[in-house]
Symmetry: C2
Subunit: 256 residues, 2 copies
């Protein structure tokens, strides 16, 4: 039975895709069978895993419209050693296409259930908005990993994110929990970052991951080569941090 | 007649809100009458201008549902010396509420037209997604200011953004243009940033603003005090860069 994890935060640019791609690759490195579902019309996770999004067909869009199964749409990320459900800008139409359809919130959950036994982990990279795509991810997930920058707007946005997770818990998925908050692009010399970090520790306690992802330019360079950072520069600070996160994820899941 | 500018990029965290709030304050400092419309359910521009989003009512949401006019919803940003149409998470429901309504793409344009003579500039802070809210902004705007970080995913996203602007130009607003691309959080020591900067100059030519916004922590601190950076620390690099941008914006508009 796989662990299904949504990687979400409606605040933009906080490291959701970077976390999704590199956690997937690091878990694969530790012997886990991983599926990464890209739910963002930007298709960044698809590209970051080395797959050309513009020619990918079918994508998660066709899965949500019940036209194909996950088995038919999944592709292999060669450099990452995990499977990917690709996405591209066609997905931007999903919100309007799905809104009047049956079971619009549960389509992804039903589709992923068919392949649950093939994987140890299923990760979902969410778009920077609390829309039907993110709700589909929350309806499918056992828990939510929340990447966040330790800055004001990202802190501000947590209230709305937690409120949305609570609503999904009541209406669609009673077992959803917050897996943890991951501090990303963390600069220990910044007073603002320290203050925000203290506030989230106070509020979320041990839900805050011990692993902290530092700002490391190699993480920003790797996707331009279509590579997870482990395949781009395995000794850099960013690669080591994501390996540490993968180990902490396994510990938290009781797998060691 | 006011100049109406959409500040948009579906890539998250590239400095849209920081640009919207600080360009508004800097234009006001130069004697312009400015309205800032917050179109993001995150309500960051509302908070960054010093207005409490959680108690703001009516907001842009009621304007889009044709329940109130802009005159009834606008508030004053005391520290910024500009007017604001506030937003909060209630707006997240707009996509679903508007989708089956008449003139769903033109509601904002019609509402803003009623106050066009009150302002020299109307700026719109867009959410990190190419949805109905952003389309409403594009339908209302004469041009689009595109903040961007000089990194791979942001570069990647320009294709989809330009394609969306073209579609709006054909269907809804024949006069829309790209006003310019603004390099934000620019680190001149980074080779990646230099490479991406060269690529956008090659592709967009003089549409790339001369003004470059450096990474400056004061820009990230100011919103936690509900202040534009001009009111928080007017001598810092960030404040000076946005004043420079305001001057360049006036030059480009033929106002000096
Ligand atoms: N730890 C890091 N150090 C340096 N750069 C990083 C780091 N994490 C992410 N980045 C870069 O910061 C930018 C934002 O990260 P990313 O795109 O992963 O965020 P996101 O939350 O997925 O954004 P969106 O909201 O658009 O989906 C990207 O250009 C990425 O390469
Ligand atoms: N030039 C800068 N120097 C340092 N920090 C900055 C700068 N510009 C923006 N920031 C910070 O970076 C983060 C992202 O900026 P901002 O929220 O303005 O981007 P955005 O594009 O509006 O994000 P979203 O996609 O969520 O709407 C914020 O925490 C902001 O305070
Ligand atoms: Mg992303
Ligand atoms: Mg914003």
């Amino acid at each position: 039975m796989s662990r299904i994890l949504a990687i979400a935060n409606q605040k933009g640019g906080v490291g959701k895709t970077t976390t999704a791609v590199n956690l997937a690759a690091s878990l694969a490195e530790l012997g886990q069978r991983v599926l990464l579902a890209d739910l963002d019309p930007q298709g960044n996770a698809t590209m970051g895993a080395g797959i050309e999004k513009r020619t990918a067909l079918p994508t998660v869009y066709q899965i949500l419209l019940n036209q194909v199964s996950v088995r038919e749409a999944r592709m292999r990320s060669e450099p990452g050693h995990f499977d990917v459900i690709p996405a591209n800008r066609e997905l931007a139409g999903a919100e309007i296409d799905l809104v009047n359809l049956e079971q619009r919130d549960l389509r992804l959950k039903v589709a992923l259930a068919q392949v649950a036994d093939d994987y140890d982990f299923i990760l979902m990279d969410c778009p920077p908005t609390l829309n039907l795509l993110t709700v589909n991810a929350f309806a499918s997930a056992q828990s939510v990993l929340i990447p966040m920058q330790c800055e004001y707007y990202a802190l501000e946005g947590l209230t709305d994110l937690v409120a949305t997770i609570k609503k999904v818990k009541q209406r669609l998925n009673p077992s959803i929990e917050i897996e943890g908050l991951l501090r990303v692009m963390f600069d220990p010399r910044s007073t603002l970052a320290q203050q925000v970090s203290d506030q989230i520790k106070q509020h979320f306690g041990n839900k805050v991951y011990d692993t902290v992802i530092p700002r490391n330019v190699r993480l920003a360079e790797a996707p331009s080569h279509g590579l997870p950072v482990l395949a781009y520069d395995r000794q850099c600070k960013g690669a080591r941090a994501y390996m540490e996160l993968a180990e902490e994820t396994l510990r938290r899941a009781g797998i060691t």
